[in-house]
């Protein structure tokens, strides 16, 4: 017979988080299709926008410098949307019941997926930048501006991943989670990500000017091309923080309410 274990103290919050982050990353790495998509999508979008649309949008050939931030955000949005699906899967699978009957901080299950998403998306961002440099991207940013741009990208990924986590928590099933997530992925097209807002019809201009993607795009683009204004940067940070805090709050509430329901 097995040696019975004397009851141990349950894991600390730190260990709990570390274990769930490890789990999230492991699950990400084993989801081979999603992983291939995370690499292929940035490469394909980069090539598509530079070589297919780029000539029509900006015949001077400078379009690559304009479009990089947009593609980074598009990929980050896509990459974080899968968080909705994995979170919804966890909540409908019996595994959440096991975690919830253990004396640990359960919301860490979600935190684990969020951190894994950050890692995935930073990797995709790296791919975008590498391909962009190959096809002629010439940023004029200094080290500080690079760090600033990277900081805003991290904040953006965090904010949208938590938003998708909340969506995964409130939707009943993985498939509806992915459906709702899809809507958000259209936001970048209605911003200054791919074409200047001035080229849009006036009613659309109102939408584009007042949605969060535009200031984030403008801030990143400004930092990379040396045209940033403090207003842009603060507006971007403000939007991201607001979305981040609201989404975390929403997730916490949804997680509690979900307690014991399928």
């Amino acid at each position: 017979m097995m040696t019975p274990l004397t009851s141990t103290k349950p894991a600390s919050v730190w260990v709990t988080n570390a274990v769930f982050i490890g789990r999230g990353i492991r699950l990400s790495l084993r989801n081979v299709e999603a992983l291939i998509m995370a690499i292929m999508l940035p490469v394909m979008l980069m090539l598509l926008f530079t070589y297919v649309f780029g000539g029509a949008i900006d015949p001077s050939g400078n379009y690559v410098n304009y479009v990089v931030p947009g593609i980074i955000l598009l990929c980050a949005g896509f990459g974080s949307s899968s968080t909705a699906v994995v979170v919804a899967e966890d909540m409908t699978n019996g595994i959440i019941d096991r975690f919830r009957t253990m004396p640990i901080r359960c919301l860490s299950v979600v935190t684990g997926h969020v951190v894994a998403s950050l890692a995935r998306n930073l990797f995709a961002t790296g791919v975008v930048i590498a391909v962009a440099l190959l096809v002629g991207f010439r940023p004029s940013a200094n080290l500080l501006a690079w760090l600033g741009a990277l900081g805003i990208i991290v904040l953006f990924i965090f904010a949208f991943t938590w938003l998708f986590a909340a969506i995964g928590l409130v939707t009943g099933s993985p498939s509806s989670a992915s459906g709702y997530g899809f809507i958000l992925l259209f936001l970048p097209y209605l911003s200054s990500a791919f074409v200047p807002i001035e080229t849009m019809p006036s009613w659309l201009r109102g939408v584009a000017n007042n949605q969060p993607i535009t200031p984030v795009i403008e801030a990143i683009r400004g930092l990379l091309n040396g045209t940033s204004t403090p207003t842009n940067v603060w507006l971007a940070i403000g939007w991201c923080l607001a979305i981040l805090l609201a989404s975390i709050l929403w997730s916490v509430i949804a997680f509690r309410r979900k307690a014991g329901r399928r």
């Binding site: 017979m1 004397t6 019941d97 253990m102 307690a259 014991g260």
Partner: protein
């Protein structure tokens, strides 16, 4: 409370307008196996979820290991372990990774987790597949892994929700052996099942639940004395069951029953003998008067 591992009084639970648990009372002595026997939709899983702190009750008092499940949730969680109706394992991880993860979450160090995982894999006959992903496991292997995970740290009360549903006979018997061993170590086991035979084989006490009410409680022997040991089943030529008659299973009793029947049923009626099923239990219980039932369930 004292000697009771689980004590439930007047428990009620609704989901929307649907009454799922309609006044449950039960007491589970420490170190025994308690089986909740009932058909699909009877409220078994809901009861287990309430006992294991996952769902809040609407009314009634519930104590697990002496602690109130409403106000002392965390203390309850230290005393229990749940193996749900659907295997709670990560399909994309290996059996060993699943175990180590729960070991770490239970407060074991990395080194302790490694030792404990391989001990459990060995004990549950999973060493050979420990490095394979769970999605390649058979139903029986999954169940064993699930149970192994529940035993990472010693808990005094184990909840098993339909532990053998969907398993073949060999896996079922293997699991029964494990459950009996655990009881012999002093663990209290609260399990649900749809099989009379399972309750009979394992339980010290059986409670029959249907539509959110416990309609009978007793030892398996007491239940069987009402349902009989062997059931005589009569079929017509179209192979439809026309009557079932519980008997004690003795030659004398069965002979006499058949003798009497031979005068009353059509000549071409066919007869077979089988073990009582849960349907027979309900038939036997619902034909008794309500008054009698209330006497038994309290």
């Amino acid at each position: 409370m004292g000697q009771y591992a689980i004590e439930v009084k007047g428990l009620r639970k609704k989901f929307g307008n649907q009454i799922v648990l309609n006044g449950i009372d039960l007491k589970v002595p420490q170190g025994t196996i308690y089986a909740l026997l009932g058909p699909n939709g009877a409220g078994k899983t809901t009861l287990i979820h309430i006992l294991s702190t996952l769902v809040a009750p609407d009314e009634g008092s519930v104590h697990v290991s002496g602690y109130d499940i409403r106000t002392e949730k965390n203390l309850v969680k230290h005393a229990i372990s749940l193996t749900g109706q659907f295997a709670a394992v990560d399909e994309m991880l290996t059996g060993e990774e699943n175990l180590r993860m729960i070991c770490r979450l239970s407060g074991l160090t990395t080194a302790e987790s490694r030792v404990r995982s391989s001990q459990l894999l060995h004990h549950f006959d999973l060493t050979a597949s420990g490095r394979k992903r769970v999605k390649t496991y058979s139903g029986g292997m999954r169940r064993r892994l699930d149970l192994a995970i529940s035993l990472v740290t010693s808990r005094s009360i184990l909840f098993l929700d339909e532990p053998t549903t969907g398993l073949d006979t060999i896996s079922r018997r293997a699991l029964w052996d494990i459950i009996l061993q655990l009881r012999n170590q002093g663990i209290t086991i609260f399990l649900t099942t749809q099989y009379l035979e399972e309750a009979d084989q394992l339980a010290d006490t059986v409670a029959v639940i249907t539509d959110g009410r416990v309609v009978a409680t007793g030892t398996p022997e007491e239940l069987k004395s009402r349902v009989g040991e062997e059931v005589i089943e009569l079929r017509n030529l179209k192979d439809e069951v026309i009557r079932t008659i519980p008997t004690s299973g003795t030659v004398h009793d069965m002979g006499q029953t058949l003798h009497e029947l031979s005068h009353t049923v059509p000549k071409d009626t066919r007869v077979s003998i089988r073990k009582p099923s849960m349907d027979d239990v309900f038939l036997a219980l619902t034909t008794t008067t309500i008054k009698e039932l209330e006497g038994i369930s309290s």
